[in-house]
């Protein structure tokens, strides 16, 4: 199998995981972020389930130089905790709280055929392009 086929299959599995977890529903995400009122802790179980599944594999594969398809593995280098990390994550937190969608569920939400998801994705694409063209 080639890179494109693997990517497609992984996207399908990821998308099924998102919808099974309930996180494609913005209402569930808002319920998690609503810490002072009717808090819904489900999102912790989604992240927890994914982390305990992937974590051990990352540990055992951490010194691997090449992927199964033969590509050189370039993991993100250790970086200082800088302003970009904190400000970027804060701005993402505001956007996440406004709608209840982060990038994965925002794309999977296209499967609902609700046109508002297209408006969200176009705005998200604009944010990505503005960042790319203004800040190195």
């Amino acid at each position: 199998m080639n890179d494109k086929a693997i990517s497609l299959i992984c996207g399908i599995i990821f998308g099924i995981g998102l919808v099974v977890s309930g996180m494609t529903n913005p209402e569930k995400v808002i319920g998690f972020l609503s810490i002072t009122h009717n808090w819904d802790a489900s999102l912790i179980f989604v992240m927890g389930g994914a982390i305990i599944t992937a974590g051990p594999f990352f540990y055992f594969l951490k010194n691997k130089e090449f992927s199964a398809l033969g590509d050189k593995i370039n993991l993100p280098a250790k970086q200082n905790i800088d302003k970009k990390l904190i400000i970027g994550s804060s701005l993402f937190g505001v956007g996440w709280g406004l709608v209840g969608l982060c990038p994965g569920p925002a794309i999977s939400a296209l499967a609902t055929f609700d046109p508002i998801t297209v408006v969200f994705l176009l705005s998200m694409a604009a944010g990505v392009l503005v960042k790319k063209n203004t800040i190195k």
């Binding site: 990517s7 599995i13 913005p26 199964a68 406004l98 990038p103 408006v119």
Partner: protein, 142 residues
């Protein structure tokens, strides 16, 4: 606690974790969706692979809705452009400035025990909670 669904949440999380592992093992890349999205639209390297992943993100739920789910899957989203447009923009801008989103920092990064990702996740969760709490004071999301 209303609407708490720990079992389906955990099962969904494990499925996501398996996708992340299979993707990393096969391609050597981390399944951070905001990065995949940026690559898919700006096209630096492996553009078609990144587009294929995003296509999968849409096909997966379609398979689930049509062949697996026994009841309709809930989807409740605001239809206020005052929330959707700035919300989408900030998610796009913020995730790329901060170098990751819920998948890249929250799952892959924490799974690799990256201090940066643990801090980033703490920040976006805390600010997301603050944002929702403030919106609730103005009668949005009760």
């Amino acid at each position: 606690m209303n609407n708490f669904t720990p079992f389906s949440a955990l099962l969904g999380g494990i499925i996501i974790g398996l996708s992340v592992v299979f993707y990393f093992y096969s391609t050597g890349r981390l399944a951070g969706i905001s990065g995949i999205f940026e690559n898919a639209i700006t096209g630096t390297s492996k553009r078609l692979s990144n587009l294929a992943f995003l296509l999968g993100l849409v096909i997966g739920p379609l398979i689930y809705f049509n062949f697996i789910a026994s009841t309709p899957v809930a989807f409740n989203i605001t239809h206020s452009y005052l929330l959707i447009i700035p919300g989408g923009f900030l998610v796009g801008f913020g995730t790329r400035l901060g170098g990751g989103c819920t998948s890249g920092h929250g799952i892959c990064g924490i799974g690799r025990l990256s201090i940066n990702s643990i801090i980033a996740t703490g920040v976006f969760v805390a600010i997301g909670m603050l944002t929702v709490t403030i919106l609730q004071q103005f009668g949005v999301y009760l």
